[in-house]
């Protein structure tokens, strides 16, 4: 079930009616069953996979907690890691590695005899796997007390707002909240609803409106002029931002309406002044997960420059691979790893330039933001092409060469001018709200003034009606 669909609106209405009528254990059951219903609406066959992961991690958690023997504890946590990553690896990466190996074998002049399997990727597997995995690891690290109530643990894994596409809420953030007795509060309800509406606006009005223009340029890049391609790439950067952060807004808002506190997943990432800052503002729940469970265990920045670079690169390469089974995603991760390394080299030089030339702060910030955005844009081209299968690198390179050629760099050469104008207008609305939000804190404001709330909610719904694309388009991050 996806948020931007009629079945979900009906589901949510029924769920919230029931949710505040029940307490304690009944509520846990409601959360659990509604999560399974929500997920099963997409494909009930994969409910068994979630259930199995849940049972195994719950059992291993108990075992890790009970055991005083460090070796046994370690074995159990490794078993959890292996199990979770095996599922993820099989469903998501089996064909990718089989294909890659076949290509390698063919390049050596041999003909491989195996074939790939027709594997369906279970929606959200990357998200709930990481979430469940964080539990056993944290119990092993003794950062989190073990959960002895299976229903509560199962409800934690299947909590529907974040089940399909995050944010990846860690066990130590969410499990303690499962025990709280949450009563209905208007303030929380209004705050959550405001967030949900803003998320819908970002997804339905912005991301889905930009999508056709973007799809067109990645389908046949050779037929478009350079300005058309450049606009398409810029549009993609906002499409993916609004698609994913829109989902996160809806998830955070729904959770807030239920009484849960989810961590923020995006903080205006395109205003980042460095790549390290970018990764504290883009998909925060994943980047912090990778930082805590991969980068730091690898040694982080504690063992000299070379190992820091290596750890940066490994983390970003795996982060890229997490997004999808295609070398283009890995290359996207490689680019971001490279950016992080280059930043460490270039940043001191730039700081010296700023000091010597006495550049004002707004120029310094402006240059940095522009540089980070431009390089991010470059990497997005490979990321977008990553979903195109074997042709991904060819298409990405065509788009880049098309932009750099400078041919037909005029507005007159653009075929869908109206889509461009609509896209620019919507991005303008988004940026205006996000920039003014630094000062005005819109969601706080609507909570203090009911009249503001009425106007803001109505305005959002009017904007959705006027600009929205109502095809129940799935969220991009579902495929990851």
């Amino acid at each position: 079930m996806i948020f931007n669909s009629l079945p979900f609106l009906i589901f949510a209405a029924v769920f919230f009616l029931l949710y505040f009528q029940v307490r304690g254990r009944e509520r846990m059951w409601l959360i659990l069953l509604s999560g399974y219903f929500f997920y099963g609406w997409w494909d009930w066959r994969f409910l068994g996979l979630i259930a199995f992961t849940t049972v195994m991690d719950f059992t291993l958690g108990l075992y890790i907690d009970r055991s005083e023997n460090q070796k046994q504890r370690r074995t159990a946590v490794v078993a959890s890691i292996v199990m979770n990553l095996t599922f993820l690896g099989f469903f998501k990466y089996f064909n990718f590695f089989a294909d890659s190996l076949a290509t390698l074998v063919r390049s050596l002049g041999m003909e491989p005899s195996w074939t790939t399997l027709n594997i369906i990727l279970p929606v959200g597997i990357s998200f709930y796997t990481f979430q469940s995995l964080s539990y056993t690891v944290d119990v092993y690290r003794r950062k989190l007390p073990v959960e002895r109530d299976f229903i509560k643990f199962a409800a934690f894994v299947s909590l529907f707002p974040q089940l399909m596409a995050g944010p990846i809420v860690r066990a130590y953030d969410l499990l303690p909240q499962m025990s709280e007795d949450k009563k209905f509060e208007w303030r929380r309800w209004n705050s959550g609803l405001g967030r949900v509406l803003w998320g819908f606006f970002k997804k339905v009005a912005i991301a889905d409106s930009l999508a056709p223009f973007v799809d067109q340029i990645f389908t046949a890049p050779e037929t478009f002029g350079s300005l058309h391609l450049l606009i398409g790439v810029v549009f993609y950067s906002f499409q993916i931002y609004c698609d994913f952060s829109g989902y996160s807004d809806i998830a955070i808002g729904l959770a807030r309406m239920m009484g849960f506190r989810f961590p923020e997943n995006f903080r205006t990432p395109y205003f980042s002044r460095s790549f390290s800052e970018f990764w504290t503002r883009w998909h925060i729940s994943l980047s912090s997960w990778l930082r805590d469970y991969l980068y730091i265990p690898l040694g982080g920045n504690r063992h000299g420059v070379v190992k820091t670079y290596r750890n940066n690169m490994i983390t970003m390469l795996l982060g890229g691979l997490w997004h999808g089974a295609n070398w283009a995603f890995v290359f996207w991760g490689f680019l971001h790893g490279l950016y992080l390394i280059l930043q460490r080299l270039v940043s001191p030089i730039w700081r010296s330039v700023v000091r010597v030339m006495r550049l004002p702060k707004f120029v310094d910030d402006g240059v940095c933001i522009l540089a980070v955005y431009t390089l991010t844009l470059f990497a997005w081209i490979y990321f977008r092409a990553g979903s195109l299968g074997p042709a991904s690198f060819k298409v990405a390179n065509q788009v880049i060469m098309g932009i750099l050629s400078g041919e037909q760099f005029s507005f007159g050469a653009i075929i869908n001018k109206f889509q461009v104008l609509k896209g620019v207008l919507l991005i303008g609305i988004l940026l205006t709200v996000e920039i003014t939000n630094f000062r005005w804190h819109w969601n706080e404001r609507q909570l203090r003034h009911p009249a503001w709330r009425m106007a803001a909610f109505a305005a959002l719904l009017w904007l959705i009606a006027f600009f929205g694309t109502f095809g129940s388009n799935a969220f991009i991050y579902f495929q990851f």
Partner: protein, 288 residues
């Protein structure tokens, strides 16, 4: 209780604002110089009615009017499907004196286009035919349009109407020369044209309605880029189907223009190409 009152007020504001904004946008739309706004506000009477999809924009109205002294109304639109064109033609015939000629490019039958049909929602209050088409083909959208009037304006047709608010749309045409790198690929390009029997039936209905009003109907296949027409599959099948359905000959200009400089892309003659094409149509007596 206080919160429920606020939410009730919110719903009232939401509904009232939607209706008010819908009314304002409707007013602006109908005052526009855009073709369909003129059609549904009584400002589209003409001697020659021109109909097609994006290829129908090749019927370059300023040149026809200048060379023949006849007034024109071009109902063509990018991706316009024949079922919508049928509704537009019949609405025209119902509200205006019969034109002398209806010139129709039959490649308009190559696709159904519900996405574009949705764009005509803002004209649905003025056309039971369009309203019925939307209700039958897009029932959810039709329901949404009744619930929120703002959704009727959430489309490209509205944007074009706004763009042409004070600016004539008669010279709307793809005016560029096909890029050389695209020309080099002409042999590899395929255009899978499909014959949709229900669209041929719509064309037949439009032709019969026009003939019943004494309109001289001319059916044509407009020019394709040299060497491209053979890559368009089923063109002959479409021609035969239309001739059988209407009993009229289809005048075939698919290879009438031989100069690559006459085209904006493989499918569309540019301004120069359109002028050459219109000269041919006039010479052959299809246009006055």
């Amino acid at each position: 209780m206080k919160h429920f009152i606020w939410y009730a007020a919110f719903l009232a504001l939401l509904f009232t604002g939607d209706r008010l904004a819908g009314w304002l946008l409707q007013r602006e739309t109908m005052a526009s110089q855009f073709r369909y706004s003129r059609l549904y506000s009584g400002r589209a009477g003409a001697d020659v009615l021109l109909v097609g999809n994006s290829r129908g924009l090749t019927f370059y109205a300023p040149y026809i009017e200048q060379s023949s002294g006849q007034s024109t109304c071009n109902l063509s639109y990018n991706g316009l499907p024949m079922d919508v064109a049928n509704a537009l033609i019949q609405d025209y015939l119902e509200h205006y004196p019969a034109p002398k000629t209806l010139l129709l490019d039959i490649t308009i039958c190559d696709r159904a286009n519900n996405e574009l049909l949705a764009g005509f929602a803002m004209y649905a209050p003025f056309s039971p035919r369009l309203s019925g088409l939307i209700r039958d083909s897009l029932p959810k959208m039709w329901g949404g349009n009744q619930f929120s009037h703002l959704t009727r304006f959430n489309n490209e047709i509205f944007q074009r109407a706004l763009f042409h608010r004070k600016k004539s749309d008669k010279d709307w045409l793809l005016d560029r020369v096909i890029p050389p790198k695209l020309v080099a690929e002409v042999a590899q390009q395929q255009y899978p044209l499909e014959v949709h029997p229900q669209l041929v039936t719509s064309l037949q209905a439009a032709v019969q309605a026009a003939q019943a009003k004494g309109v001289q109907v001319q059916l044509v296949i407009s020019p394709y880029f040299p060497g491209f027409a053979q890559n368009v599959t089923n063109l002959d099948a479409l021609k035969t189907a239309v001739e059988q359905a209407t009993g009229l000959p289809v005048h075939d200009y698919r290879q009438a223009l031989g100069d690559p400089g006459d085209f904006g892309d493989f499918m569309h003659p540019n301004r120069a190409g359109s002028i050459h094409y219109i000269d041919l149509l006039r010479k052959d007596g299809l246009l006055p």
